[in-house]
Symmetry: C2
Subunit: 252 residues, 2 copies
DNA sequence: GCTACTATCTGGTATATACCAGTTGGCGCA
DNA sequence: TGCGCCAACTGGTATATACCAGATAGTAGC
């Protein structure tokens, strides 16, 4: 049936806009409950499916957080995270007054070739026969899951790593226990969604926005010491990067 | 009615998974047409709305691209963009064999206070009475819109800027015409969606994934010379950042 | 006052249907 | 051969309805 009143703007966008305005104005504060889909439908004279589409707009923009069988709530502001100091997520959180934590989901040592993932060996510059530590962790801030980290480290460089305490920062461990100092780090960032596996680990929806980060860290001699795949919750984190001219202005 | 057959997995996710597998396997190559929603519905014995939900899964993950009233097509691979050399998007595209271009949507000079956007003056460290150039451009690669750029530059530092050719890189202009060398740049990145305005400018859907970048660039004396808000198409671009230890390892 | 049950509410999924307005490709005509 | 028209097709929007199962709050019983 389309636009009953709205000059070409679909109803679900119109209602979504009204809701967004109520949130931005502060009428609906962070943490507050948004009217239920059925209520919105009644209020605006639209069907529930259309009201749901309106709420979806806000949910996909991170303005609002859906909690299954409970309700829809206004989202809280994002935590800032530096892209220049990826090494120390724990430290970063702490300096922002957020208590860091980590839950180890997986910690094992296997031959790279058995991973069924040729990228790991390729990125680390090792053969499939060489053994790597696989560490999968959920990093938390104030108990809330923030990042799903998947780390691959050559066993040759970090013997006995899995016997260490893996609930803190890996980079601190590298330096203090193994005397290896991360010198260079190449990161590739991509907008993404969490996906089913990550969603379960982070306790969120598979369709929640995320930033996928692939990272290769090298020591001073240019030797790869870590390959990582991170999924950062896009609804809870923003990323800050500071560059200075020396880094990129040398070519001109 | 829920799971007719599928062990707890909703039908739209099951069908979405089948489609995703066909794309990843290469059976459906980039640019190829995906079966229409009505065809998918018939093939899998589901309603069209459910088939649509399945396609939505892939679209939101950037696996496919919807073209209104035309069809759904497998997406092409993303263009890499360095976060360390944001200054020269044109150069970056060129070095990757992509022809850079820019369309100027807006170019005017106003007092910062009249913008109705206190952040601009605040970020540039100027008073509301000072005049700023406002330059809004769509940056393209091979004719395809990639980034919507919103630049704010103090007129005091760049007199007559708007008479220059704005279809190239602004940073080249700064250096060559005004002798101002960008020395430091702070960028804030956030997952986002395009939104209605940006979607129209970039010729895409308002709900397409995007990376929002806010940037303050300073010269060697620490003076802000540019404030920018960029919206990068998340479906066409990925971002690469290289950091070296000097940048972040000094504190320890 | 505390616990246990229960009716209600919630978002999630799914169907069947309808209309709209560009896109597309084929067919006929000049 | 080339142009223009038109029917079929496409995704976008919208409704009305239904069932599910976990969350939640109120109430009855102890």
């Amino acid at each position: 049936m389309g636009d009953v009143a709205g000059g070409g703007v679909p109803a679900y966008r119109r209602v979504g806009g009204v809701l967004a305005a109520r949130i931005r104005s502060g009428e609906l504060a962070p943490g507050a409950r948004v009217p239920s889909e059925r209520e919105l439908a009644a209020e605006h004279g639209i069907s529930r499916m259309t009201a749901r589409a309106a709420v979806d707009l806000l949910a996909r923009r991170g303005l609002v957080e859906r909690r299954e069988r409970s309700g829809v709530f206004v989202a809280r502001p994002k935590i800032e995270q530096s892209l220049d100091t990826v090494a120390g997520l724990s430290d970063q959180l702490e300096s922002r007054g957020v208590a860091p934590g980590a839950e180890v989901l997986e910690a094992r040592t296997v031959r790279a070739g058995t991973l069924g993932d040729a990228e790991v060996a390729s990125r680390l510059g090792i053969s499939g026969a060489e053994r790597v530590h696989v560490v999968v962790r959920v990093r938390t801030g104030d108990g809330e899951p923030l990042v799903l980290e998947e780390n691959y480290l050559p066993e040759r460089l970090f013997p006995g790593l899995l016997r260490e305490d893996l609930t803190g920062g890996l980079y601190a461990l590298m330096r203090e226990r193994y005397g290896l100092f991360p010198a260079r780090s190449r990161q590739e960032l991509e907008t993404s969604l969490l996906g089913p596996g990550a969603a379960e680990a982070l306790g969120t929806s598979p369709d929640a926005p995320a930033l996928r980060v692939e990272r290769v860290t090298r020591d001073a001699r240019g030797r790869p010491i870590e390959f990582a795949r991170d999924l950062h919750r896009g609804d809870r984190l923003r990323f800050v990067s500071e560059v200075s001219a020396e880094d990129w202005d040398v070519g001109l």
